[in-house]
């Protein structure tokens, strides 16, 4: 009886579309924001209120990881990204980004490392604290990725109220940060020898970057939320200025002009701009074989357009909307070790959906 019931529920949770089938593997999550695969069956995921949890995708069991730092959960802040160390199999190390109050006053972005042992974080330490203090956790960024040289990139958003600071190098608003895995600063960072610049800055002039991908060839791609119009896909190179808010293709939510300029010498142009905004929330570069039609494509989840944008790396002007049948605001996308694509929907009571190939 139990078998038939579970089979019935399983069938019920599979939706089909013209090209793909969708299977809901987890639901009723508490504002889950990011996830990473520990194995084909097991994921480690964050929930914005401050929970780090391990879920089995086959038996649906969920375990809480303990010894999590206190986070400032409101607006766009909370426990954000979780990633595994490139040497996780030998050192069990993970990294989490989160927003928290500094001395119970203003909020900023933190990056911590810890070892995951027996469902507990041990040797947890803060390896980066952004010099980007704000009264509310808006535009945090908080995405983490590893470069092929083993150093780590972290996106730090412009804080909305502090957008102009994205153009100065004495703070972490609107910056991509590059540090070593122990928090120290690589000596080949682009601004290391600049007197009035923070030496961990890698690139600047960004807004709210929520997609960060490093391809196997080592190229760094990033996307960021624009204001009303003007979401961008960029290729990131050290020391470059990406222009926000001095140049932009969008206007403010209030309708006000942010800048009448869309380009200027010394400021980078995006590879791709979305007008109107799609609100890009995460991105992978799919290099596996399970979905041949998606291989070597960027897959970008979107909150507003409620789909996944497929963009071919060889022709960035062509994009396709995928999984529109789901009709969910999509928060995060990952591919499993075997290559299956999983999508995390956005908001409270969100769910994890597996995409079954054609």
């Amino acid at each position: 009886m139990k078998f038939y019931l579970s089979s019935f529920l399983f069938l019920f949770s599979i939706h089909s579309s013209a090209e793909y089938k969708f299977e809901t593997v987890l639901d009723n999550l508490d504002d889950a924001w990011s996830f990473v695969f520990l194995s084909e069956d097991k994921i480690l995921f964050t929930e914005m209120p401050g929970k780090l949890r391990i879920a089995s995708l086959t038996n649906k069991s969920i375990i809480n990881v303990t010894n999590i730092p206190e986070v400032a959960y409101s607006s766009q802040g909370g426990l954000s990204e979780v990633v595994l160390d490139p040497d996780f199999n030998t050192n069990n190390k993970i990294y989490i980004s989160y927003s928290a109050k500094k001395d119970n006053k203003k909020i900023t972005l933190y990056l911590a490392s810890a070892e995951l042992k027996d469902n507990k974080l041990v040797n947890r330490k803060i390896i980066f604290e952004a010099n980007a203090y704000r009264r509310s956790p808006a535009h945090m960024g908080a995405k983490i990725a590893f470069l092929n040289d083993g150093t780590l990139l972290l996106t730090s958003g412009d804080g909305y109220d502090h957008r102009e600071k994205a153009q100065s190098l004495d703070n972490h608003f609107g910056k991509i940060i590059r540090i070593n895995r122990d928090g120290s600063i690589p000596q080949d960072n682009p601004f290391i020898s600049y007197k009035n610049a923070l030496s961990d800055i890698y690139s600047y002039g960004h807004r709210n970057m929520q997609g960060l991908v490093i391809t196997s060839s080592g190229e760094i791609y990033e996307h960021e939320h624009g204001p009303k119009g003007g979401d961008e896909l960029n290729i990131i190179k050290p020391s470059l200025n990406y222009g926000w808010p001095a140049i932009t293709y969008g206007i403010d939510y209030s309708g006000a002009v942010i800048s009448p300029f869309t380009e200027k010498e010394g400021m980078e142009q995006p590879l791709f701009t979305w007008i109107p905004s799609i609100a890009p929330s995460d991105m992978i570069f799919y290099e596996k074989d399970l979905y041949p039609e998606l291989k070597n494509n960027f897959l970008i989840t979107a909150l507003v357009s409620k789909d996944v944008k497929q963009i071919n790396i060889n022709d960035l002007t062509i994009q396709k909307s995928l999984f529109t049948d789901l009709n969910f605001r999509l928060r995060n996308i990952q591919d499993s070790p075997k290559g299956y694509i999983y999508l995390l929907t956005d908001g409270p009571n969100n769910k994890l959906i597996k995409i079954l190939p054609k």
């Binding site: 509310s136 002009v257 300029f261």
Partner: protein
Amino acid sequence: MKIAKYPFAVLSAALFTVMLITPISSISNLIWLNSVNMPIGIFKSLEVLLFDFQRLGILLYGVVIIGFAVAFSVTGLLTKYINFHAKYLYAFAGACAIGIAMYLMVVLLFESELLGGNRTIIGKILHWLAGFFGGYFYYFLISKNYDYTFIIRYLGVLYAYIILGFSLNWIFTPDTAAADFGFILKDLADNAQNALLKDFTSFFVATLIFALLGVVTLNPTWFFSAGIIYICAAIFNLTAVLIHGTEYNLIYVGEIFLGLWPIFLGITILIKR
């Protein structure tokens, strides 16, 4: 008219205040852009100021109307019991209304400051001052008796305010403006681009000028001129669909609205005279 002057005084004072408030954000933004060596000149400054007045202004107009309506109603009651110069009470009420409105916008919008010009202490003081002058202007409006021309002028200015948005788009961002009508500007030949830009820009700027001339002179001919152009646009929109087989669209609804509005003002002037 005696009762009608109060709501129209609120609407007029709010519009006056919005004219004072929007440049605070625009100018603070322009100052910053200039500080990072962006080539800000007169043309770019004008673009920012006018677009902000039109787009940001509409949002602020709604907020200020609500704030002023509450503040001036309360102040109207208080003036019956407080023996103090009413003009200063209304001015103070205007400042309070703007201060509270700006505060609530932050609280209700995830603790984020939507108005760039309100992020500094100086900016906040300037916003309060704008509210102060708005309140003072309100008192000025209600302390006199008006005839129907007050309402005609208000509705004429509001009409011109709406047309201003279309005009600005065609003057400063023709690509976007053309796209709204289904044209990809850069795909057109040079002559076609030129024809499109000059015709559309003339269309909107001319009707804007007609409306403003109507407001200043109260000569109904100007309002009729603006109205006839939009009514013609609606008629020929529909004939293009019915006779020439172009795709049906709903733009004619807006055209009829923008045509009937000034015609109504013109007819009112004729009747009253």
